[in-house]
Symmetry: C2
Subunit: 184 residues, 2 copies
């Protein structure tokens, strides 16, 4: 249940609603984690029941009331404890590689179409990281003055960029190799 800890993490910065948290996910950690509102809301409710959060209601006439969640000391302890737990290597699931694995039954041109498509996706993703995501992070650092934390935010972005660069290299190398195969 990593979602819980991501929520605790953001709430350790400041009290927020579920809706606010979803925005933080979209703008800061989308490149390695995200969640839908339909998952966030019930999770916050459960975390409140567990004593990790408290909730204040801000009444609104025109919209549903804002439910502002605050982290408790117990929540802070649990977050800190989780952050210190050594993490296993992530397990990978890439259905695209299943396609590559069984691509022997396809014509060269069909495999190449797949690879060129992936290449384009990863090139676009890389640009998005280097521009949009990087800007979001920098804006956040300036808006909050959280310089030390910001260094860690940037490190996660660097990993995202490294991933995409790896994909792009592999796609390019693979396209060349396949072009060199004889299509018996």
């Amino acid at each position: 249940m990593s979602l819980k800890y991501a929520l605790l993490g953001f709430l350790s910065y400041q009290p927020m609603t579920g809706y606010d948290l979803k925005q933080r996910f979209d703008h800061s950690i989308d490149h390695f984690w995200n969640a839908e509102l339909s998952q966030i809301y019930p999770t916050l409710t459960r975390m409140k029941e567990e004593g990790l959060l408290t909730m204040d209601v801000e009444f609104q006439d025109d919209k549903p009331n804002r439910k502002v969640y605050h982290i408790t000391n117990s929540g802070r302890d649990e977050l800190r404890h989780w952050l210190l737990e050594l993490e296993d290597a992530p397990q990978i699931r890439i259905s695209f590689l299943i396609k590559v694995f069984f691509a022997g039954m396809l014509k060269k041109e069909d495999v190449l179409a797949q690879l060129q498509h992936q290449l384009a996706l990863h090139q676009a993703q890389l640009v998005d990281y280097q521009e949009t995501v990087r800007n979001h992070i920098h804006e956040n650092i300036e808006a909050t003055g959280m310089k030390r934390d910001g260094e860690f935010w940037e490190l996660t972005l660097e990993m995202g960029i490294k991933f995409e660069e790896g994909w792009i290299e592999w796609c390019e190398e693979t396209i060349e190799k396949i072009e060199g195969m004889n299509d018996e």
Copy 2:
């Protein structure tokens, strides 16, 4: 439902039992996909009901009967169709990066311990790919004579290696950066 297509892929090579298929998963595609027997068995049953597979029972006295699954023409069509569908960029979930993102609240040495742990895991994984997995693939190519297919099997391994190299580089760079930070 990529599991279905991975099963169809292996069964397009030759008829097999669920147990055999699990072994193929472990030895060939574990670095980007895997499944438990408890998921494979019911999936095969369902695929048979869908007409993608047929089943022969080989009676055994001492062990449960072997249920050997064969791919049907319909199964082959569905596999081929899926292989041609352009794939979206894989979505990533790396809980370790949540830890990095919120590492600002930790002491330098605690963050470094995490990173050194990850570094070691990825170094070990890389060696495993370069040795064990590569050997499995080569043995399979020799045992089956599937040279053209084998080229694609190797390409997926190359991607696994590229991933691990990326992780290792990032860990090393990150460890240096963090060592250079002042721990206020």
